[in-house]
């Protein structure tokens, strides 16, 4: 193996082994695609970082009863329209309404429901 080949190989190995070198979402982004694509909407991308700047954890996870396992909440547009789950804020008073479909249904097609890791970990269960 030539010296250049060795360098390329080592560099490639280094890139592979370096945490965060792959393109990844922001830490703790949640993909919700239990029903979305089956109903011809793009998957929902929920960004924890955006929401936690504005609200403490327990507002959603205690007061609104949103369970901490992606896909386990059975969220539907009907429930949101009635003020449940996302609808507690996404009602035109605090945040945008259900009319702004794209702002939540903003994911690429084919994404599976789950929580995404970050620069340094690939998330629970994958760590």
């Amino acid at each position: 193996m030539s010296k250049m080949n060795r360098i390329v190989l080592l560099a490639a190995l280094g890139a592979l082994l370096t945490p965060g070198s792959a393109i990844r979402s922001e830490y703790a982004d949640v993909i919700i695609n239990e029903k979305a694509e089956a109903e011809e909407m793009s998957p929902v991308i929920f960004s924890h970082w955006f929401h936690r700047i504005r609200y403490q954890c327990s507002v959603c996870h205690v007061d609104l009863g949103i369970k901490m396992k992606a896909g386990s909440n059975g969220i539907t547009m009907d429930k949101i329209s009635k003020g449940e789950f996302c609808g507690a804020c996404h009602n035109g008073d605090i945040a945008w309404t259900v009319e702004s479909c794209d702002l939540c249904h903003s994911g690429m097609s084919g994404l599976e429901t789950g929580i995404k890791g970050s620069h340094q970990t690939t998330g629970p269960g994958n760590y």
């Binding site: 360098i7 280094g14 393109i23 922001e26 703790a28 955006f50 504005r54 205690v62 794209d102 269960g125």
Partner: protein, 183 residues
């Protein structure tokens, strides 16, 4: 000799470059989740805009979220409408049964700055010394502390943030489980 040095430099750069690049917040168009063709990718706030101005960290969102509150950079509401008062607790729980790792400190303060008691008690953790069977296997599977740490709160790569009791620290476990000072 020179060419060996040059090769080593090249290798170092090749290895370091992705690490340095990983410091950046990905734009929504490039995050592998948001559809760049969706109009939202141009409308939604970009992570870098929001996060680069907060207390820095090396892991997770690259934000020290507890510091961000303490420095007054953010003031996340404790209820949907922002009404109500927040309950803080200062007691620290020391968990000494950590095999070869340093003992763990659980700081109530940092946690109550971010959430109400009901987030953990009594469903996730019983409010009683020695009553909670916590271990790393569970945490790595996303149970106990791992329900949040490794998913949203700082990741499990940061061992010494929890396993932080030094051998000379004045800790006197009063039982096989936890010590609760300041009570």
């Amino acid at each position: 000799m020179l060419s060996i040095h040059r090769s080593l430099c090249l290798i170092a750069i090749c290895i370091a470059a992705p690490m340095l690049l990983a410091e950046d917040w990905k734009s929504l168009e490039d995050d592998g989740l948001h559809d760049p063709n969706n109009p939202a990718a141009k409308v939604l706030q970009q992570p870098e805009e929001a996060l680069s101005v907060l207390a820095p960290d090396t892991a997770g969102n690259k934000v020290d979220w507890v510091q961000a509150i303490r420095l007054g950079q953010i003031a996340p509401r404790g209820s949907v409408d922002g009404a109500g008062t927040q309950e803080f607790r200062d007691t620290e729980i020391i968990m000494p049964n950590t095999l070869s790792s340093p003992p763990v400190t659980f700081p109530h303060r940092a946690h109550t700055e971010w959430m109400s008691c009901a987030m953990c008690h009594e469903s996730l953790f019983v409010s009683k010394t020695d009553a909670n069977d916590i271990n790393m296997a569970k945490i790595l599977e996303g149970e106990a502390c791992g329900l949040c740490h490794g998913a949203v709160s700082f990741p499990l790569t940061e061992c010494n943030r929890c396993h932080n009791v030094g051998p000379d620290d004045p800790v006197t476990p009063v039982s096989s489980g936890a010590r609760i000072p300041d009570q």
